[in-house]
């Protein structure tokens, strides 16, 4: 009897998986990726002398290239492995996430891409501060930026450590140090130019790897998606193919949807990419290209998830990782053998590296451009001094991300991604949008809006079921919603409007009129 129970508990692996052991193909692929990107960094370093080159790649990236780089910045390992895993274990509900992550992009296009490109210089705070008082706006908006970046970064680093441990059998600590060091190298020496090319290469690798994975999987079903879906419903029931119990409370659904959608339009590392292109027209093209690639990628992850569910099997996926994060990798091994697993694993590693590089660059820009120049130096920029600060900030952020990765080892970091998106949607997006479209928006309005959004996001997440029940094990949460965006974002808009109306700022309204030539015609845009 005891033996029988033991037998049941042992992970039943019908497929022999080499996950967790050093895979020569992935090692070679990964070192090749690092070698090529390091060479690009060396090339970029020679071209990166001025601020405009460091922060914005000299504004010389084409619309198509920037579209790919945006996609590279956005398609994190969480999207690739997380969403595929969610589909593989929970079915259709994973797609609800993908759709939420995608629909923010049209809004970036319609509402902010062109004005952002025309009004800003290096960071989105440039736009918010354009006609308002520099110091208070810079301080509060860099707090918003840095909080978003910090939570996103922690999630990526902890994810990286865990992932690499499972993939290569490499020690967690070593993996975190490798990721932190290599990424610091890209940003420190190659600035935005190197970071952009890292994103582009990574995007191409990820898109082609995922495409091959889907083709190999669909080949098993005679290239008929219909027979794939039929197999899913025969093996796991029809319910897997339509919305299930994942979203039960309508307000929770709406709140999560808003955070995913509008958070995208408030992510500092995404917004920063709009300054790398020469003009508003190229910025527009980048959003179109990025939306196409990201949409295509999410459709692929959906097929990857369902194929893994049928070909690998839910019990196997869940026995290796409860959250299903290894589904795509297991499917790769099942359909393309150990060599293909190695390739996909190397791509996943490269993905994390690229995303953390983008985050670090935007964090460093916020520190050097917003805080150092506009707050400590009162707007008097000294190119060399600013670059020195930017590079020191990069090193500091590199060390910090390694430390945070080590400190948060083993923690569930899913809520940190939620928190990052919630702060981006509540603190950054409302202030950015109001400063672009509303003449009567004031300095105080912006300060209070950003502060409200950031503060409420953090407090409400702590009081939400995610932390209060799941992490702290209290029986019931004080705040009922899993994601606070519905409340925190509405409050940020409301506070911004009320404070602005209570105490009008005539100079800001006048400057709004005169900035219109730049906003709409691009006259005077950098």
């Amino acid at each position: 009897m005891l033996l029988f129970t033991l037998f049941l508990q042992a992970p039943a692996l019908p497929v022999a998986s080499t996950l967790g052991t050093a895979n020569p193909v992935s090692m070679v692929m990964f070192f090749l990726f690092v070698a090529i990107t390091m060479y690009i960094t060396y090339w970029a370093a020679k071209k990166t002398k001025t601020g405009s080159e460091f922060y914005a790649a000299g504004r010389n990236i084409s619309g198509f290239q920037n579209g790919l780089a945006l996609a590279g910045d956005y398609m994190s390992a969480a999207s690739f492995l997380g969403i595929a895993g969610m589909v593989a274990t929970k079915g259709y509900d994973g797609l609800i996430y993908s759709i939420g992550f995608l629909v923010g992009w049209p809004l970036i296009m319609f509402l902010i891409a062109e004005p952002l490109r025309n009004l800003g210089k290096y960071t989105f705070a440039d736009v918010v501060a354009y006609r308002l008082q520099q110091r208070p706006i810079r301080i509060v908006s860099s707090v918003g930026s840095l909080l978003t970046i910090a939570f996103y970064l922690i999630a990526q680093m902890v994810g990286a450590g865990g992932l690499i441990k499972t993939l290569f059998g490499l020690q967690y600590e070593l993996a975190v140090v490798v990721v932190g060091t290599v990424m610091t190298g890209y940003v420190l020496f190659g600035g935005m130019l190197a970071t952009t090319w890292v994103q582009i290469i990574k995007a191409v690798l990820l898109l082609s790897g995922a495409t091959v994975l889907v083709i190999l999987s669909l080949a098993t079903f005679n290239f008929s998606p219909a027979s794939l879906f039929q197999a899913v419903s025969e093996k796991y029931g029809e319910a897997m193919l339509s919305p299930g119990g994942f979203i039960t409370n309508p307000f929770d659904a709406l709140s999560l949807g808003l955070a995913l959608m509008l958070g995208t339009a408030g992510l500092p590392h995404i917004l920063m990419r709009f300054y790398t292109v020469p003009d508003a027209k190229a910025a527009r093209k980048s959003v179109f290209v990025a939306t196409g690639f990201i949409g295509y990628f999410y459709i692929l992850t959906f097929f990857i998830g369902f194929s893994a569910m049928v070909l690998v099997g839910k019990p196997v996926i869940e026995s290796i990782d409860k959250g299903g994060n290894m589904a795509a990798l297991l499917l790769a091994e099942q359909t393309g053998g150990t060599a293909f697993l190695g390739f996909i694993a190397a791509v996943a590693f490269a993905t994390i590296l690229a995303v953390v590089a983008g985050l670090t660059l935007s964090g460093a820009s916020s520190i050097s451009h917003d805080l150092y120049v506009h707050v400590f130096k009162k707007g008097v920029s000294h190119e060399q001094g600013e670059m020195k600060v930017a590079k020191r900030a990069t090193i500091a952020l590199g060390i910090l991300s390694i430390v945070l990765g080590l400190v948060f080892k083993g923690q569930n970091v899913a809520f940190m991604v939620g928190l990052a998106f919630s702060i981006a949607a509540s603190a950054n997006f409302p202030a950015l949008l109001m400063s672009i479209i509303w003449r009567r928006f004031t300095t105080q309005g912006a300060v209070w809006s950003i502060a409200t959004g950031a503060f409420l996001s953090i407090v409400l997440i702590i009081l939400s079921p995610t932390i209060w029940v799941d992490l702290l094990h209290y029986p019931e949460a004080i705040f009922p919603l899993k994601n606070p965006a519905l409340v925190s974002m509405s409050a940020a808009f409301l506070v911004g409007i009320l404070v602005s109306l209570l105490k009008p700022e005539i100079a800001a309204a006048e400057k709004f009129e005169s900035e219109k030539l730049r906003t709409y015609l691009g006259i005077g845009a950098e």
Partner: protein, 104 residues
């Protein structure tokens, strides 16, 4: 020669410029509302009446699948519509106004 302050004011107050800004925001708002209606509508169906999406298309594919893919494709097409409009209608008008400023 950079436009002088009076030129700038004259352009900002010109009916062409005001019409251009208004048209830009009308297009933006129509497209924004479209995507919001699509996405929030989808979320509300998921939240309030899931069974609607479980209705089958053919033998075993529920409507949820094509609807989900359609939203992704729609999001992309809407950005395409905006680019098409901006390239063919907005940009030429921007250029015309810029030429006018430079001519002054």
């Amino acid at each position: 020669m950079p436009p002088t302050h009076t030129h700038a004011t004259a352009v900002i107050e010109s009916p062409e410029f005001k019409r251009l800004v208004k048209k830009r925001w009308s297009v933006s708002i129509i497209l924004t509302v479209t995507i919001l209606v699509i996405y929030i509508g989808f979320l509300l169906v998921v939240a309030f009446d899931k069974n609607l999406l479980a209705v089958k298309l053919g033998n075993f594919i529920p409507w949820a699948l094509p609807v989900g893919f359609a939203i992704i494709v729609a999001a992309w097409l809407l950005t395409g519509i905006y680019v098409y409009w901006a390239n063919n209608s907005y940009d030429p008008e921007v250029q015309a106004l810029k030429n006018k400023i430079n001519a002054n």
